[in-house]
């Protein structure tokens, strides 16, 4: 292994984007909690001071990762995964409860969310499992094992009461698809979500009548009516059963606050002082930014009237308010470039391990980006997951960096694979 040459093979684009995003994040946190009386940038008593410290730590850790043998992570993938599962289980016992979910471990000097670490570990384990020569996504056994690798941490996180972080694991469906899972499963998943929402919005009767009408029309216009009858009938029956069970799932599986958040998004409920408050304020802040924004440090909505999350999960509001639509477009350009670049890099890997790992982190970053921003603009329910590299939070920044740098190292050594 020629570690000495690693610097020349690193994908400097990714590094540049990473540092760019982290810097924007840092400045935005500074703006979000800006206090004219204490303008110092580097002060550990402030959130931006701490974030700056964490960025330094993350970068240092990233450098060390670049020096480690590239095979190392493939070899220890299961150990890291096992450790993550243990941590998740331990959290259920010794975790501290924050905002209703028991998902934090307090180490005294800092606390962190093991679910952040679990995402990284799951990506490694999945890549390692599928790397073996006899693994083939067309085999049921391979498929089931791959699902299990993702489902175990997902269920553990769900048990902690952190539905938002658990949902992140569902993005591995994209990786499965890339590795050969039938595209139909993706479509069925989307259709299920659509029926769920339609049922909540219009009531089951409307949905059931709609399904019957649509199936009837298909039957009338289909050519091989007799052969297709039972197929269509079966599908219709399944969909109707699902639609009938929506109320049950909604009332019994989801928690009260989750129900409320979904209802607010769907416009079924109005709660401007409670859960709806964040969302309304968030939309007002974004909307008030206009085309050009109010200028750095001049956002007032986010500073004065906002909910405490304006530098964590709702950090996008501050950017949108201060930088306007122009700033938003630029930010999107950077994120989309990052995700596309990661896909291109994943595609050029020779080893299955690195490829799958690359697609995994691209998908995870995509999910966080989509859900976080979707929530601030009222497109998705309020799910508390951070905006990668930008939201305030040490463990989030650290593990996202870790995840990224491991891939950068794999990519730098891609030619070493015979």
């Amino acid at each position: 292994m020629r570690n000495d040459a690693v610097t020349f093979k690193i994908d400097w684009w990714i590094i540049l984007i990473y540092i760019g995003l982290a810097t924007i994040g840092l400045l935005t946190i500074y703006a979000a909690v800006f206090d004219a009386e204490h303008p110092a940038i580097y002060d550990l008593a402030t959130s931006y001071g701490r974030q700056f410290l964490w960025l330094t730590i993350s970068l240092a850790a990233g450098m060390i990762l670049l020096l480690i043998n590239a095979r190392f992570f493939n070899n220890v993938a299961y150990i890291i995964y096992g450790f993550a599962i243990l941590l998740l289980m331990a959290t259920l016992v010794i975790g501290s409860t924050v905002a209703g979910s028991k998902s934090w471990i307090n180490l005294g000097f800092m606390s962190f969310q093991p679910s952040e670490f679990a995402k990284f570990a799951t990506a490694l384990a999945l890549a390692h499992y599928l790397d073996k020569i006899d693994r083939d996504f067309n085999k049921t056994r391979t498929q089931l094992t791959a699902y299990a690798i993702v489902l175990i941490p997902m269920i553990l996180v769900l048990l902690q009461g952190d539905a938002g972080s658990a949902l992140v694991f569902s993005v591995f469906l994209l990786v499965f698809y890339k590795e050969g899972m039938s595209g139909r499963i993706l479509v069925i998943g989307l259709a299920a979500v659509a029926i769920f929402i339609l049922t909540l919005l219009t009531g089951k009767t409307t949905v059931i009548i709609g399904i019957i009408v649509i199936c009837g029309i298909i039957l009338i216009f289909t050519k091989k009516r007799k052969e297709n009858f039972w197929k269509i009938f079966g599908i219709a029956a399944l969909v109707i059963t699902f639609s009938l069970s929506v109320d049950f799932i909604f009332d019994n599986v989801l928690k009260q606050h989750q129900q409320t958040r979904i209802k607010i998004i769907l416009g079924l409920e109005d709660d401007p002082l409670g859960v709806g408050y964040n969302l309304r304020q968030s939309k007002i802040a974004i909307g008030s930014g206009g085309f050009c924004g109010k200028g750095f440090l001049h956002g007032t909505m986010t500073k004065y009237d906002f909910v405490p999350e304006h530098h964590t999960d709702f950090i996008f509001c501050t950017i949108a308010e201060e930088q306007g639509f122009v700033g938003v477009v630029l930010l999107f350009a950077v994120y989309v470039t990052l995700m596309i670049r990661l896909v291109i890099m994943a595609n050029r890997q020779r080893s299955t391990f690195s490829r799958i790992y690359g697609y995994s982190i691209a998908s995870i970053l995509f999910f966080h980006f989509f859900v976080n921003i979707g929530m601030t603009i009222g497109l998705l329910p309020v799910i508390g997951i951070p905006l990668p590299f930008m939201s305030y939070g040490g463990s989030s920044l650290f593990f996202f960096s870790l995840m990224l740098f491991v891939f950068i190292k794999q990519d730098a050594n891609r030619k070493d694979i015979l």
Binding site: K178, G287, G290, F332, T352, F353, F370, L379
Partner: protein, 604 residues
């Protein structure tokens, strides 16, 4: 690491497609928010949106004749949003509010602890007059503003325990119900507590744009985000304000309670607990101070003796023991027992009357030996097969009258009293006990404890000849919704109606008989049935107890009166009960001399 062929390489374009399309969808939505929709632009860099809670009017409360018992009076809360406080002239504000600088700092710290960005109550319940002096200067104080927040007023100053009062929510209330925010008011006792969810209504919200000068400019987005408050539901209670007030005057200077019930519905007509206090004392900012004074008062005026005070029922319980004797068949209306007066064993008779004594005479004279004999014979009746089985029967009958908490009520914090069961004695006497052990129960002493509400309900059940509706305060809701069905569901005792007729005759003789223990309290032209009681009190003078209902054949009022440490039932409790009956049925009282004597007597 092994090289395998990437079979699905082309699928990367689908994935990239998903990434790009999603980003575009988000961007379109953001474009609409930021550029297309102009409504958000009115928020300039210098103004902010303030969400102001619109408090609903709390439901008002009426008595059975639609007289106002509780209504709302205007009052104001000074709110603060700590993050918006700047350039504050602290001294000026402190002077206006008449508070010290320390107090000011405490209040601001408390608000900051709750939230820097959400409004909380800085200074609550400012009266209309005080508000006039401060409101026009409020623009000086950035981050402070007023909201309208009514306080309760009790025009009659009566029924403090029953009506209850409201106060600031505790942190526990906020935790239990997300509806409440710091500084909100919540029912703390009485019907204000019990019917909180009905009375409170639903808060609304108004979004207002506030400029740099702390002035509310316009309604944000033309009021699109605003929701109107929904006023609380009015309550109509079964109380008769006039009767209640009269009862409180009769109990003036005495400790105890009066409970009057309408037997045909179970609605409470009057419920007096004495000593009492003016409910208006627990309103507004003086609440805390006055509450502490009441709490530390030796006479315990905050205690609702009518619902949570428990007493032995004394001789009033003999009616029930007689009824159980009749129902079980050990006696009939003509049964007689010998009474040896003061030398009777094991319980002596305290009244002087002829012997042998009949059932109605025993009631008239409150003869202890008679009811001991009934109790003794009942427990030893062969049909039960043993004293303990017979005791089980007795227990079931007693509980059937609502003793030992057999009913639901909307009187907040009502006590259940205590009726000893077979297990209770088994535990105490390790299984070895008989009718002699529990002999005190025959005359309503011993381990029995009942509340005045239960006693009044008992009187109602006798008056109704075998049924009752759980005693309750509510009569109707202003929104027309039905009251809880438990209050309109008849509960029937296991005693046959004819036995009640027998006992009613005896209870009439308590007034009309030659030796009747309450003959001095008879009312002309109104037939009353009643029973005196004297509850032995280990801590001092006996309690004077009386139960009654009238008119005997079709009772409109059933009543229980307990005057603590006042001696015989006939001395205070009986005249108070009959004065209440007279007042309710006739509308005024003819026996003004009795009335005056009672009102002027202070027992301390």
């Amino acid at each position: 690491m092994i090289r395998k062929k990437d079979k699905y390489q082309e699928r990367r374009f689908v994935i990239m497609g998903i990434f790009v399309v999603t980003a575009v969808v988000l961007l379109v939505k953001i474009f609409i928010l930021q550029v297309v929709d102009t409504s958000y632009r009115q928020i300039s860099a210098n103004s902010t949106v303030r969400y102001m809670t619109q408090f609903p009017a709390r439901g008002t409360v009426y008595d059975r004749k639609n007289r106002l018992l509780i209504y709302n009076e205007a009052s104001y809360d000074l709110m603060v949003i700590p993050a918006q406080v700047k350039n504050l002239d602290t001294n000026y504000l402190c002077n206006l509010l008449n508070i010290t600088k320390d107090d000011f700092n405490n209040r601001l710290a408390k608000a900051k602890k709750y939230s820097r960005f959400h409004p909380s109550v800085f200074f609550g319940q400012i009266t209309k007059e005080e508000y006039g002096g401060i409101s026009d200067k409020s623009y000086h104080f950035h981050g402070f503003y007023f909201v309208n927040h009514a306080v309760r007023h009790y025009p009659y100053s009566i029924a403090a325990h029953t009506l209850g009062n409201i106060g600031e929510v505790s942190s526990k209330d906020i935790e239990n119900d997300a509806y409440y925010k710091s500084g909100d008011l919540i029912g703390k006792s009485g019907i204000e507590y019990y019917y909180e969810k009905k009375l409170r209504g639903k808060k609304g919200v108004k979004a207002v744009v506030v400029d740099v000068h702390n002035r509310e400019k316009e309604s944000f987005l033309n009021g699109e985000l605003d929701t109107l408050p929904v006023p609380g539901c009015d309550l109509v209670l079964g109380l008769d304000a006039e009767l209640q007030q009269y009862g409180e005057r009769l109990m003036n200077g005495k400790t105890g309670s009066i409970v009057a019930i309408e037997p045909s519905t179970g609605q409470i007509l009057a419920i007096v607990s004495s000593p009492s206090y003016d409910p208006n004392a627990l309103v507004g900012r003086v609440r805390g101070k006055n509450y502490n004074e009441l709490l530390n008062n030796e006479e315990k005026p905050l205690l609702n003796r009518a619902a949570s005070g428990t007493y032995p029922p004394g001789s009033t319980f003999k009616i029930l023991n007689g009824l159980i004797g009749l129902q079980s068949g050990v006696i009939n209306e003509n049964s007689t027992y010998i009474c040896n007066g003061p030398i009777s064993h094991p319980i002596k008779c305290t009244h002087n009357h002829h012997s042998p004594t009949s059932l109605t005479e025993a009631v008239e004279n409150s003869c202890n030996p008679y009811f001991w004999n009934v109790f003794h014979d009942m427990l030893n009746a062969k049909t039960f097969g043993g004293v303990k089985n017979a005791f089980d029967y007795w227990y079931r009958q007693v509980v059937g009258f609502g003793f030992g908490n057999n009913f639901t009520t909307d009187i907040a914090f009502a006590s259940s009293g205590q009726i000893p069961s077979r297990n209770y004695y088994d535990k105490i006497y390790k299984g070895i006990w008989n009718e002699w052990t529990v002999r005190s129960l025959s005359i309503g002493q011993g381990e029995i404890l009942v509340t005045p509400v239960q006693l009044a309900n008992y009187a109602a059940a006798i008056g109704n000849e075998g049924f009752y509706y759980p005693p309750h305060l509510i009569r109707a809701f202003g929104d027309g919704s039905p009251i809880d069905s438990v209050f309109t569901t008849k509960i029937t005792t296991d005693i046959a109606p004819e036995h009640f007729k027998t006992m009613k005759n005896g209870m009439k003789r308590v007034f009309e008989g030659e030796h009747g223990t309450a003959r001095g309290s008879a009312i002309d032209s109104i037939s009353v049935a009643g029973k005196t009681g004297t509850a032995q009190n280990p801590h001092g003078e006996d309690h004077s107890i009386f139960i009654a209902f009238a008119p005997v054949d079709n009772p409109q009022i059933a009543i229980a009166v307990i005057v603590e440490n006042a001696g015989f039932g006939s001395t205070y409790a009986a005249p108070i009960a009959t004065l209440m009956i007279e007042k309710y049925i006739r509308g005024y009282v003819k026996r003004t001399n009795v009335e005056r004597r009672i009102m002027e007597t202070e027992l301390k």
